[in-house]
C-alpha cells in the first residue's frame, strides 16, 4: 500500500487553494475532533474576519437508534450569524458523507447560509450519500476494515494515521 500523504503539506495546499476564495462574508466551521484541528490551522493562516465556529453533530446523527448518544458530545459554538454567510465546512476525512449530512442539518437550525462548501484533508471514497468535497487535499485508498484519522502531536503538527476500525 502507498504511504499516507503528509498532512502538513496537504494543509498548506488547501490554504493556497482557498486563499483567493476568501471574502468578507466567508466564515469557517470545523467538525469535531479532527476537523476542528484542521480548521484552526486554516482559519489562522487565512486570517478570516469571522471567528471560527466549531460543531459536534452528536444530536443530529442518523445512527442514534443503533448506537445511542455519543459519549461526551462537545458543545457546538457558532460565534457569527449563519444567515446569508458563505460557509466553509471543514472535516479531516470524508467517507460515507453521513457526518456532513448531519452537519448541514444542524447548520440550518442556525440560519440559511448563502452557500456551504466542504473542505477535507482526505477523501477515502466509500460514499453512501450524494455528497462531495469542493476542496480536497488528497484522495486516499483505505481498506474497508481500516479507519483513516487525523492526529495532532504535542508540537501541534498534524498527521494522518490508519487504525483498525472497531
Amino acid at each position: 500500500m502507498k504511504p499516507l500523504p503528509d498532512a502538513e503539506s496537504l494543509c498548506a495546499g488547501l490554504v493556497a487553494e482557498l486563499r483567493p476564495l476568501i471574502g468578507p462574508n466567508t466564515a469557517m466551521i470545523g467538525l469535531y475532533t479532527g476537523g476542528v484541528w484542521l480548521a484552526e490551522r486554516l482559519h489562522a493562516e487565512l486570517a478570516l474576519a469571522q471567528p471560527l465556529g466549531t460543531m459536534d453533530i452528536a444530536f443530529y446523527r442518523d445512527d442514534y437508534n443503533k448506537q445511542g448518544l455519543a459519549r461526551d458530545p462537545k458543545r457546538t459554538r457558532i460565534p457569527f450569524t449563519v444567515g446569508g454567510r458563505d460557509l466553509l465546512l471543514v472535516d479531516d476525512v470524508l467517507y460515507t458523507g453521513r457526518t456532513v449530512r448531519a452537519a448541514m442539518n444542524e447548520l440550518f437550525d442556525y440560519g440559511r447560509p448563502a452557500s456551504i462548501s466542504l473542505v477535507v484533508l482526505a477523501d477515502r471514497g466509500g460514499r453512501e450519500l450524494p455528497i462531495c468535497a469542493q476542496h480536497c487535499g488528497a484522495k486516499v485508498d483505505v481498506p474497508a476494515d481500516m479507519r483513516l484519522r487525523l492526529r495532532r502531536g504535542d508540537d501541534g503538527k498534524l498527521r494522518l494515521e490508519l487504525e483498525r476500525a472497531e
Binding site: 459536534d56 452528536a58 443530529y60 445511542g68 448518544l69 458530545p73 458543545r75 437550525d109 442556525y110
Partner: protein
C-alpha cells in the same frame, strides 16, 4: 460488581432512578452532555432531531407544574412526542393499579416514562417491569429522590464554581421532607465535595443524617460561615403532619436566609433554591432577587439537564 438497576451491561444509563448508586463517571457524563444542550437552548431554533418518533409519557401521580413543564419542554426540544398524564385525577381514582396503568401506556408504544409519585420507590417498581426498549426517569418519589433536580443543582454549582474539590456546600431547612436534599447530598459526595453541611432544626433533619457524610448544624449562622454554596430548601408545609414547627414566622427568624446571615458565607457565595420559593419563610426577597441568587439560571439549566438524561437513556439498549 452488584448489578445496578439504572445501568445496562455496558455501564450506560438505562433508567434514571436516583443519584445514589450512580458512578462518578456516569454523573460527570450527564453534566458534560447537559453542557452541550445548554448551547442548543440558546439558539434561535431550540430543537434537535435526536428523539424524533419517540414518545415520552409524563406520568404525574402527584401534582407538579414546574417539573412537569420542564420535562415537557426538554422532550419537545429533543423532538419527541410528549403525552402528559395527570393520573392523580384519572385512572388511579378508578382503582387501576400502578403497573396496570404502565402496561396500558406501554401498549401505546411508549419509549420513556417520566414518573412522579408520592410513594418512595414507585419509579423503581415500574423500571423492574418495563420492556427492554422502555426507560424510566424518576421525577420525584415520596421523600426518597428527585435525581434530575439534584443533577441540575450539581450542574449549577459546577457552572459557577467549576470544581467540587474545594467547596463547602450548605443545605438549609426542611431536609427531613426533602427528596431534593437527599439527591443533591449523594451527588456532592460522589463528586468528592469535601464539606457538605446540613442546617436546620432537629425536627426537620432526618435522624442519622450524618451517615450521608454531612456535618450537622442547628445554628444557621455557624453553618453558613465560609460556605461557597447555600442551597435553601422549601418549607414543605403540605408534607407536614403534626406540629414540627411553632410557626412559619418563627422558622424564618432562625432559618430564613437574610442578607445579614448570607454575609457570613464567602463573598462570592451563590444562593440556590429548587422552587417554588416561600418568600419570607425560608428566604428573604432581597436575597432571592439579589446578586448572589442563581435561582433562575437553575431553571434554565434544568431543561438542558433533562434533555441530557432523556437522550442518554432513550438511546441505551
Amino acid at each position: 460488581m452488584q448489578s445496578n438497576p439504572q445501568l445496562n451491561a455496558n455501564g450506560e444509563l438505562r433508567h434514571l432512578l436516583s443519584i445514589e448508586g450512580l458512578p462518578r463517571e456516569v454523573l460527570l457524563g450527564i453534566l458534560d452532555t447537559a453542557a452541550s444542550f445548554v448551547g442548543v437552548t440558546e439558539r434561535e431554533v431550540k430543537k434537535v432531531p435526536i428523539l424524533r418518533g419517540k414518545s415520552v409519557f409524563n406520568l404525574f401521580f402527584e401534582p407538579s407544574t414546574r417539573t412537569r413543564t420542564t420535562f415537557e419542554i426538554a422532550a419537545k426540544r429533543l423532538s419527541a412526542d410528549v403525552i402528559n398524564l395527570n393520573i392523580a385525577a384519572s385512572s388511579q381514582t378508578k382503582g387501576e393499579s400502578l403497573l396496570d396503568t404502565v402496561a396500558n401506556l406501554s401498549a401505546m408504544q411508549a419509549d420513556v416514562f417520566v414518573v412522579r409519585h408520592a410513594s418512595s420507590g414507585a419509579p423503581f417498581l415500574i423500571a423492574q417491569h418495563v420492556k427492554a426498549h422502555e426507560h424510566v426517569i424518576n421525577a420525584g418519589d415520596g421523600r426518597h429522590a428527585h435525581p434530575t433536580q439534584g443533577l441540575l443543582d450539581l450542574y449549577t454549582i459546577r457552572h459557577y464554581k467549576r470544581d467540587f474539590s474545594r467547596l463547602t456546600v450548605a443545605v438549609v431547612g426542611d431536609v427531613l421532607h426533602s427528596r431534593v436534599a437527599r439527591s443533591l447530598i449523594h451527588g456532592l459526595t460522589t463528586l468528592s465535595t469535601p464539606e457538605v453541611r446540613v442546617i436546620g432544626p432537629k425536627t426537620l433533619l432526618p435522624t442519622g443524617v450524618e451517615s450521608l457524610g454531612v456535618r450537622v448544624f442547628h445554628d444557621m449562622r455557624e453553618g453558613l460561615r465560609g460556605a461557597d454554596v447555600v442551597v435553601m430548601l422549601r418549607l414543605q408545609s403540605e408534607r407536614m403532619r403534626g406540629a414540627l414547627l411553632p410557626s412559619a414566622q418563627e422558622f424564618f427568624k432562625h432559618y430564613g436566609l437574610t442578607a445579614e446571615k448570607l454575609a457570613l458565607a464567602r463573598p462570592d457565595a451563590i444562593v440556590m433554591h429548587p422552587g417554588p420559593m416561600n418568600r419570607g419563610v425560608e428566604i428573604d426577597s432581597s436575597v432571592a432577587d439579589g446578586p448572589h441568587s442563581v435561582i433562575l439560571p437553575q431553571v434554565t439549566f434544568g431543561i438542558a439537564v433533562r434533555m441530557a438524561v432523556m437522550s442518554m437513556v432513550a438511546g441505551t439498549s
